[in-house]
């Protein structure tokens, strides 16, 4: 699970740790008891093995991310917001 690079961190209400990376966002389930745990969810990529690069440069698309630098949940924990730099 190699980040490229990670930027910011947030938590959801169901013991999830969210990391905004470069072209993907990862969710890890808490508690984390050892180094290098596997993520349980990825946003911005179809799976965990697709490289952490944008196939079309920084062109926007509906299902890909580029420069996801900040992450936050709304006060009702229904939506997650990402800042794409």
């Amino acid at each position: 699970m190699w980040f490229h690079p990670p930027f910011n961190i947030s938590f959801d209400l169901t013991h999830g740790l969210w990391i905004s990376g470069w072209t993907r966002v990862l969710r890890f389930s808490l508690p984390i008891l050892s180094n290098r745990p596997a993520a349980t969810l990825v946003i911005g990529k179809p799976d965990f093995i697709t490289p952490d690069i944008h196939p079309n440069g920084n062109n926007p698309s509906a299902d890909l991310l580029y420069a996801a630098t900040d992450i936050a949940f709304d006060p009702f924990w229904k939506y997650v917001y990402l800042r794409l730099q």
Partner: protein, 163 residues
């Protein structure tokens, strides 16, 4: 209370908020017009603070990106140019300034080091999580927090602390 980020300082504004409001206090600079960037750092200077958070006790934390550290400011925040009391990622309050994030000034990856960190958050157990961007990893620190050379106990994104 709201705190906003600037390049070399944090500012504090008090309620009630209104348009054009002036900051109440400044952290990282001696006053609201200074933009000092000493090399090495002091306990009360900042270089590119990227993120802020409060711990469960109400202390203020910030990522001090270009000094390769995460700082804690104990409450209350009632003076300008307040000194930090905890320096995660460093063995003293005097950190060299990152002027060019290239291999020749890259800080080695260890349990106690950071390189251009960019984010932080606290979980419900009071653990501090830091995005150590320059090392492509996430680190967890368990309280209590010592002033210097605090060791992380979990790493995400790497198999160990020195990779």
């Amino acid at each position: 209370m709201t705190i906003e980020l600037c390049f070399t300082n944090l500012i504090k504004l008090s309620q009630p908020f209104h348009n054009g409001q002036q900051p109440f206090h400044v952290v990282g600079q001696p006053d609201l017009i200074s933009n000092e960037l000493p090399d090495p750092s002091n306990a009360n200077t900042l270089a590119s603070p990227w993120a802020i958070a409060f711990d469960l006790e109400g202390n203020l934390w910030t990522v001090d990106c270009l000094y390769n550290r995460v700082l804690q400011y104990p409450r209350p925040f009632n003076q300008d140019f307040q000194s930090a009391s905890v320096f995660i990622g460093q063995s003293s309050s005097n950190s060299p300034l990152v002027t060019n994030a290239t291999a020749d000034n890259h800080t080695p990856s260890t349990k106690t080091s950071l390189f251009t960190p960019s984010g932080l958050a606290f979980d419900e157990d009071g653990n501090l999580w830091v995005s150590d961007s320059g090392h492509n990893r996430i680190l967890r620190y368990k309280p209590p927090f010592t002033a210097f050379s605090k060791e992380a106990d979990i790493v995400l994104g790497k198999r160990d602390f020195i990779s």
